[in-house]
């Protein structure tokens, strides 16, 4: 029985209710901060972003640990994660109830969509151990350099989903609505256009972003929210490995739930109101690894015997784990790694796997990359896209430049600025301009001047290197009509080409471009053009 919800019980007369309000304020202010940083992960006339827009990822000890382990490096960028870890040791798993923006979204879904859904014991209590098993699996595989945390890390999930799915979709809908109003007769556009103008300058994307995997990412996210149908905070209770990690760290924290034994009538209100199922059959016993210190129980307790404070009542419930389960997940974490490493792309890398400028060599890159999508969000030409399987299953959702969608802007260094783990190095502009992402080549059987159809020069014109990496040479060509005519044919200067892909983006051929970029000669590997 769990029809009680936060709102109906919120008569704020007790001190417990006040602190619950405080928790809600914290949760939603942090979420607003999250949205603010998300919206500012964008070029706004500053070559250097003025805020640490990647703060949330750098705060995440799970990601920090996994990236450091798998990337075999002490990543100094993620120092805020250390702060959160320390706070958790003292204050317990407060992050999930007070800070986590995914938790806030889940709570919002709960309070709106599933407000009246009766949810019994459909989900076995034993499922909560999965988050630990996932955590152990991820930790061990990271130790063996396979970093799969991105699949389960809540911050990575949330930013990726916002970047790839939610924001582009919202943007599309709003544009279409205002487009419709704009075309309406009478005074309607005069009212709607100023609103649209305001939204455009503060909220909407400069150009409609598009991303591969967007529908898939969106559906996964909906799945997380839909699980609320069966249990409150289903994700956080059962699956979230960050929650598991923080729970383990905070088990012996100083600040924790305790009940004054005298006075408790065992009415069970605290249990039925606990979003995490953190009380056992005996309501006086708290699973401190599960309790996220949301303080709802304190607010609803009619006897006012529940307190959150230090010292007393240190009776942590045992972590619900079986030895067999732990061994299995640890073993699986180790054993699966070689299976990923014998995928054929390790020998013959996809030639279209063009990594962002400043990306580390592939192994270290995948070890560190959090798949958060910050680089894709900030990419000014929308060129950075999530991979499906071009880098293997291991590399899913890692950034790849797809020049036909968008190119790498020559004077832009934003992706390196937002990467939370340094998988993409932060390079000064002068250095970034020298980085080769790959190399362009001309498909001479399709290029208009090469096949004697017409002059064109679009690729040469857009080539951004001061001394052009695409040069035009006037040469005679046999046209399809059988005449010899002179055309300006593009040639690539390999030494000057940086592989930014603007030639491929702008090539006027409608389907496949006649000038294409592959990762050949990319600086991060060898820089050598032949093997």
């Amino acid at each position: 029985m769990n029809t009680d919800t936060e709102g109906t019980l919120a008569a704020p007369r007790k001190p417990g209710a006040r602190i619950r309000t405080l928790r809600r304020v914290s949760q939603w202010s942090v979420f607003l901060l999250f949205v603010f940083l998300f919206l500012n992960t964008e070029y706004k006339d500053n070559d250097v972003l003025p805020y640490a827009v990647n703060l949330f990822l750098r705060l995440d000890p799970l990601m920090a640990g996994a990236a450091s382990l798998a990337g075999r490096a002490l990543i100094t960028l993620v120092w805020p994660a250390l702060v959160l870890a320390l706070l958790t040791v003292f204050f317990g798993r407060f992050f999930c109830g007070w800070v986590c923006p995914l938790g806030a979204v889940i709570d919002a879904a709960d309070a709106t969509v599933f407000r009246k859904t009766p949810r019994g014991g459909a989900v076995p209590a034993s499922w909560r151990r999965y988050k630990f098993l996932i955590l152990f699996f991820l930790a061990v595989s990271s130790l063996f350099t396979l970093q799969w945390v991105f699949l389960f890390d809540p911050i990575s999930i949330l930013i990726r989903t916002f970047t790839v799915s939610v924001y582009p979709a919202m943007n599309l809908v709003l544009h279409q609505v205002f487009d419709g109003l704009y075309r309406m007769p009478g005074p309607i556009p005069r009212i709607s256009e100023p609103v649209y103008g305001f939204l455009k300058s503060h909220f909407l994307a400069f150009e409609q972003p598009v991303f591969r995997t967007s529908a898939f990412v969106g559906l996964l996210f909906l799945g997380i929210l839909a699980a609320e149908r069966y249990q409150r905070r289903f994700w956080c209770r059962n699956l979230c490995p960050l929650g598991g990690l923080l729970g383990l760290m905070g088990r012996f924290g100083l600040f924790r739930r305790r009940i004054t034994a005298e006075g408790c009538t065992r009415c069970g209100l605290c249990e039925s109101n606990c979003r995490m199922g953190a009380t056992g059959n005996d309501v006086a016993v708290t699973d401190h690894g599960a309790c996220i210190e949301c303080m709802d129980c304190q607010a609803v307790c009619p006897e006012e015997v529940i307190h959150f404070s230090g010292t007393e009542g240190r009776r942590p419930a045992a972590v619900d784990l079986t030895r067999r389960g732990v061994l299995a997940s640890v073993a699986l974490g180790a054993v699966t790694v070689p299976f990923f490493r014998v995928e054929a792309h390790g020998k013959a890398q996809d030639p279209l796997l063009i990594r962002p400028p400043g990306a580390l060599p592939e192994g270290e890159f995948l070890g560190r990359c959090t798949r958060c999508g910050e680089c894709m969000r900030v990419c000014i030409a929308n060129g950075l896209q999530p991979t499906w399987f071009e880098a293997g299953i291991e590399g899913m959702w890692s950034p790849v430049l797809v020049p036909r969608i968008g190119y790498c802007e020559y004077n832009c260094t934003l992706c390196g600025q937002v990467c939370p783990t340094g998988a993409i190095r932060r390079l000064p502009l002068q250095e970034k301009r020298k980085v080769k992402l790959g190399l362009a080549y001309v498909d001479r059987s399709r290029c208009l001047p090469w096949k004697g159809e017409s002059d064109c020069i679009v690729c040469e014109e857009h080539c951004p290197t001061g001394s052009k990496a695409i040069v035009l040479k006037e040469e005679k060509t046999l046209t399809q009509g059988g005449e010899w005519k002179t055309f300006k044919k593009p040639y690539i200067e390999d030494a000057l080409c940086v592989g930014c892909g603007i030639c491929e983006t702008k090539c006027p051929l409608t389907d496949r471009a006649a000038v294409l970029v592959t990762s050949r000669g990319e600086t991060r590997s060898t820089g050598v053009l032949a093997r």
Binding site: N411, E453, I457, C507
Partner: protein, 313 residues
């Protein structure tokens, strides 16, 4: 002798061919009126150019436009004016790939001084528009005027409307930016620079920035297309920026050794005459630039500078 033709009237008139019927002089083969559109800047039928050399950009612009009779000859009180610089590339003013920001600022200021109700600065760049507006210095220049009547805007993709290109050989229709077509007055503020396909790009080529669609396709028969597109609309005033000119690797440039300081501003209403004069800054003539030559053959203006009255400032 000042004959003023309202922009909208002109467009209607052109569409109906009424100008041809009226026996407008030197009517081009494409059915477009040539010579001076605004008679105030012509001298008994022959076009007039004002050329300012030396001095700072602000003074040169003021000098050149002043020699044509001042901005009030082109902009009336209460007009909505569109100023169209070249903001094509993510380059700095020193690299001379975009119109000089001071030139743009002075033109906008002069419009305001002439009583314009609204001055819109707009272009459709090749690189990311935000970067181009910022790096070119033009955004800051316009905003530094601090007058809410002067705005710099990004092109709104909804606002490109299709226009027929009468007698167009390869292009029969193309989309143009609505604000430009509907403005009371339009001022073209191109930069003079090298272009690898059209040899040079100046006022005629600058029309590309108000076009919608996939502009890459225009390059397949670029010289002809530039001219045909220029038959759809004609700017009321041209202020050619040749403060710094890009002499190689155009239109985007990037190397400072390709930039030459020419300290020149050319103002006029005849795009062919302006571009023909601009070509001389590069040591060639208008006839050496195929689209300028073709434009003159199609009657868009006077390429022979001997037939142009040049007012040196």
């Amino acid at each position: 002798m000042t004959i003023r033709i309202d922009r909208r009237t002109f467009l209607k008139g052109a569409a109906a061919g009424s100008l041809a019927a009226a026996g407008w002089p030197l009517l081009g083969r494409l059915g477009v009126p040539c010579g001076s559109f605004d008679a105030s800047a012509s001298d008994g039928g022959s076009p007039v150019l004002a050329v300012a050399v030396a001095g700072n950009p602000d003074a040169m612009v003021r000098g050149a436009v002043g020699a044509l009779g001042g901005m009030s000859r082109f902009v009336r009180r209460g007009d909505v004016v569109v100023v169209k610089p070249n903001i094509g590339w993510d380059r700095t003013p020193e690299q001379a790939a975009n119109t000089n920001p001071e030139v743009v600022r002075t033109v906008v200021r002069m419009c305001l001084e002439a009583g314009a109700k609204k001055v819109r600065v707009v272009d459709r760049p090749c690189n990311d528009p935000r970067r181009c507006y910022k790096q070119s210095g033009i955004k800051d220049a316009v905003e530094s005027i601090g007058n809410p009547a002067a705005v710099i805007e990004h092109a709104d993709p909804r606002m490109f409307i299709e226009k027929e290109i009468r007698n167009g050989k390869t292009l029969q229709r193309w989309t143009f930016y609505k604000d430009v077509l509907e403005a009371d007055r339009t001022i073209n503020v191109p930069i003079a620079k090298h272009h690898n396909a059209s040899r040079l790009t100046m006022s005629l080529k600058n029309i590309m920035g108000i076009l919608g669609g996939n502009r890459g396709n225009i390059h397949h028969d670029l010289d002809r297309n530039i001219v045909e597109l220029n038959t759809v609309m004609r700017f009321d005033l041209i202020v050619l920026d040749a403060v710094r000119i890009l002499t190689a690797n155009g239109p985007q440039g990037g190397r400072l050794q390709d930039v030459r300081v020419a300290d020149t501003i050319v103002a006029g209403t005849d795009p062919v005459a302006v571009d023909s004069y601009g070509a001389t800054l590069f040591g060639i003539t208008g006839k050496d630039v195929p689209h300028v030559l073709y434009a003159s053959q199609q009657g868009l203006g006077e390429i022979d500078l001997k037939k142009v009255r040049i007012l040196k400032v």
